[in-house]
Subunit: 393 residues, 2 copies
């Protein structure tokens, strides 16, 4: 076992747990900030640590295209590359590839797609997506699935779900055969000494990393964990079948995929609730790609342990800020003389120091600091929201 999931408290369906990863503990329910291209846009890693971010999400698709998986693998993996010693989860690249609707072709073997950067042609399959995620070395990686579009008819849903199941089995097989190739399985840089207990005879290497000379990796926490993804669209029976057959394959955790793809929010909630009934209680449950502050509270209370969404970071870049008094569009002229903090109830470094008038000025003047400060605040708002949820359980 590579991931210990310790449920500490439950309250109705909600659970408060600790996820023990090779790169530290994660208190759940957790919101994972999105660090697409090995950076949470605009925010230095020191600041993410100060905000008490325990796990980040990286996008395999983006990193695969730039700087490339081999590059990151050679540099010791994503943690070391971006100097982030805490936990990381990577997606499989599947969702991004499926978003490139005009640039991709899906077959049983995998997906051929064109890069959004330069139009070059690439191929992702369960094997290459898992291989890429082993090269990146995130603590938690995801099976390669097909995210079914909405709406879709029943035949399309079943065909897509069946392929996702075959891909899940191929993902697991490739993972089992290659998981020992994760960059930090053999090289533990001193950098990670506080979170890694090294085994075997350590030996100083040229670049200051310790090379583990034998293969006796007795510590189970030193491996990646692989999550399966439940699909089945908005069809409850297919969701049940997808859950059961994914569990039969066997994963370290289970994600609910294929939601937040254009369906009404009431339907999302209904599908989440019905899918959760079929997932094992003793494994982490990850709802992909949600949501608003209200929604993440709701889903955590339904029993979801992990969530991610670009909303807080992307909205920040557009001057849309979440506060305890509601959403604020900082570009509005009404804030140009407003000396009060963005959110009087927030204790983030931005609300402690700057006025709405200043934040409005930065946004109107197209200053880069606008994005930096807005992102810090919105992330804090999401993290605080989840802290409150955890305390309430």
């Amino acid at each position: 076992m590579s991931l210990r999931f310790e449920i500490r408290k439950t309250n109705n369906a909600a659970r408060r747990s600790t996820l023990h990863t090779p790169h530290g503990e994660v208190e759940t329910p957790v919101f994972m900030p999105v660090g697409t291209a090995a950076t949470v846009k605009g925010v230095p890693q020191d600041l993410l640590e100060q905000l008490d971010v325990q796990i980040l999400l990286g996008n395999t698709y983006h990193l695969y295209l730039r700087p490339g998986i081999d590059q990151i693998r050679k540099l010791g993996g994503l943690h070391r590359f971006m100097s982030w010693p805490r936990a990381i989860l990577t997606d499989s690249g599947g969702f991004q590839v499926f978003s490139l609707s005009d640039l991709r072709k899906v077959t049983e073997e995998g997906v051929t797609f064109r890069s959004h950067l330069d139009g070059s042609s690439h191929f992702l399959s369960p094997e290459t997506a898992i291989g890429a995620q082993i090269g990146l070395g995130a603590d938690i990686i995801m099976a390669f699935d097909e995210c079914t579009e909405f709406p879709a008819d029943r035949k399309r849903l079943r065909d897509s779900m069946e392929m996702t199941l075959r891909w899940a089995a191929r993902s697991k097989k490739h993972f089992q055969e290659h998981k020992s190739e994760v960059p930090w399985a053999r090289i533990y840089p001193d950098y990670y000494d506080d979170v890694c207990v090294c085994v075997g005879d350590g030996q100083a290497s040229k670049n200051g990393a310790r090379v583990i000379e034998n293969d006796d990796l007795r510590l189970p926490a030193k491996a990646q964990a692989l999550f399966g993804i439940v699909q089945g669209g908005m069809d409850h029976a297919l969701r049940k079948e997808s859950a059961e057959r994914t569990i039969d394959i066997g994963f370290d955790g289970y994600a609910v995929g294929g939601l937040s793809v254009g369906e009404p929010r009431a339907l999302t909630r209904e599908v989440v609730e019905s899918t959760l009934q079929h997932l094992p209680k003793d494994k982490p449950r990850y709802l992909m790609g949600v949501g608003t502050p209200e929604e993440i509270v709701e889903y955590a209370n339904l029993g979801i342990d992990m969530m991610d969404c670009v909303l807080p970071t992307r909205a920040a870049r557009h001057g849309l800020l979440f506060t305890s008094e509601g959403k604020i569009s900082i570009k509005q002229a009404r804030y140009s003389g407003d000396q009060s903090p963005l959110d009087p109830s927030c204790s983030c470094p931005v609300c402690r120091r700057y006025s709405r008038a200043y934040l409005r000025h930065l946004y109107s003047s197209n200053e880069v600091l606008s994005q930096v400060l807005n992102t810090i605040h919105n992330l804090t708002y999401y993290l605080d929201t989840m802290r409150r949820v955890r305390h309430s359980i």
Copy 2:
């Protein structure tokens, strides 16, 4: 007297001094980072404090256009607006206006110009430029001058110098008549309690600031300082005359303007050296708009106390980084696998944490964090350079 200039040590022409301003002490020779629009592009104020920045430069032209002087004045001045409790110097706007060569018209009265933002028409004169700088409330403000273009013939140089002298007298007159209007002369927010000793009967105001009810501002350090600017192009005799006649008007410090406008660097040095002979030893000397790391060391050794330049911050945005091993263009492919820190001799937060490979990736991917981290490093390099200069004196 509004500015105490305490020379602590000299070494040949160089001087090591402390500038006591209303918003804290500044160790000189000092390099002042440029915070054009009330922000050092991309760097939060907390980080500037951590880098031990003691004084920032603000650009009156930019702040005048956006968010506007009245706006900043109403919000308590530039320090409070941008939440920067340490010292600030503002330029007069003259240099920026003169750079708008196609958009301006100069008369004896002042300069009519068009905004680079929206083409709207504006007028700056010695009176309006000083009025604006009083509204912003920087600790040190600059007389409104004409920055003579290079090259210029002797008649043009003399006419321009004469006008700058008349404008200097008008600048001083307007300053004397209006300096009590600086926003923090009567309202000292609690924010500044650690640097402001309030006088008179303090009284809590609605927004938490203390309003000084009487006008007995006995503490001389609670007023702005006004610097004059020496012009005269590359003509030593005119420089001497400009210096002497500017000193006759009488200012708290003296700047050398009209350099770094396209002339060869050897000529810049020659003019700086000859001008310095005519400036009083007991007042701060400010060389405007320079330079490279080598140049700021050279000018400090000639006896310059203050300098500013967009070079470290602008170069950072273009991926050009200053290191103890020379300049690095981080966009180059040779750094894509380079695990070493940007500058092994640098102890800035960027060199302590990130690799060249990561910085190269951020730059190539157009990530905002690239600008943030590059700027932090380049500023550190400049600040460290000046720290070394001060220690060597």
